[in-house]
Symmetry: C2
Subunit: 223 residues, 2 copies
Amino acid sequence: MFKLCVLIIVMSIDKKEHIMDVAVALFAEKGYEGTSIRDLAHEADVNIAMINYYFGSKEKLFVALLESKARYMREKIDAVQNDASLTELEKLNQIIDGYVNRFLSQPAFHRVLQQELLVTNREILHQNVIELFTKNTQDVVSIIEKGVRKKIFKKVDPPLLFASIIGTINQVMLSRSICNILMNKAPGTDPYQDPELKKRITQHIKQLVQDHLSIQPALQKQK
Amino acid sequence: MFKLCVLIIVMSIDKKEHIMDVAVALFAEKGYEGTSIRDLAHEADVNIAMINYYFGSKEKLFVALLESKARYMREKIDAVQNDASLTELEKLNQIIDGYVNRFLSQPAFHRVLQQELLVTNREILHQNVIELFTKNTQDVVSIIEKGVRKKIFKKVDPPLLFASIIGTINQVMLSRSICNILMNKAPGTDPYQDPELKKRITQHIKQLVQDHLSIQPALQKQK
DNA sequence: TTGAATTAAACAAACGTTTAATTAATTTTT
DNA sequence: AAAAATTAATTAAACGTTTGTTTAATTCAA
């Protein structure tokens, strides 16, 4: 009896956030168009009208969702970039850690973002996601470029190297089934729960990036 | 007058294929759920009922679409794998060429595939796409593994290296806007038309893979 | 004349959104 | 502090569209 009371209070304090949590999960599974307000209301255990009451419309709910969940990586990259004590390679490694941690800990939200990048006709939503991406890209690219200028790194294609970093994680996150295939796990299990996965991905990307960037002593001598 | 006649004949011969072409374009832009049969019928300039007449249902249209367009990479990988005259690195390079060519020449179809991987609740469609992916993954992974066993390659994480290859291309294909940002092009242009892009991606991935796999003489000596 | 291709119209179901009524909570007045 | 007034939260029902699909009639080709 008492427990039930507490539950109700907690729910009503941030019902908005509760709806948003359910929305991320449903959008991730069924897509934005594939998720109906009725589905959402039923799953979140609220009245259908409450969603428009709180957010105004389905589209505005989506935008609210983006804004509340997307600040993290922006701040992380900013912090790393302004840390003068780090070498360019260390910066990259920290950014890789950041992305892997972030993406793997919020697979549903991440899936929603990816979907919105692929579907171009919902322009407002699409544009919102693009903006999120642009600044991060430019920052990471400029770190790589700086390393190349300093001749700490080999001459590479910075934007495409960033694409490889993000793309590797995205590929693993593309679908549970594909991740299970890649990771040699039994189909049906949730691979993103496994802490081993995070370690493996981080290690692989860091090694890949380092191999690609590092100036080989042998090659230097030959010149 | 004569020209019009020919056009009509051609259209009626493979009207099915015409519908499928329009479907790919619309699905890519608006998503599967976001594309209505009416949109599709209007865009393809056929009656609404014709789509169900030809394909049975919207879902069956989608499956037909997959089956007609997805054989290519399968055959390409098969051919490369069975070519005994190639080293493992050459095989990988040819597969990279294959994927880049394929993905960049059919960006719309590729987008549709990606969408279906991200949305898990349309199980029949999802499963169809997964199956396409599984065999290719296993083949490429086994090529890398063979190279590692032969000690031609460094000890790496083969499934994740495959994820990096595909993931890099996918990242570039994720959205026109993102590709323009990555490639430093003016927003609004279609980057996939540019032949330079294909060359740049291929080069980058090949270099990335080679750096990651190659056993460095310097390191060998140290041992 | 038979069978396939094509059409406009209608189908029920589901969609996002709005309404108007009711309950709950908060503030103001007594 | 109690009652009244006001605002906010919540509800069920209905709104007009749009959805995928089907029908029954018609046109076309063999």
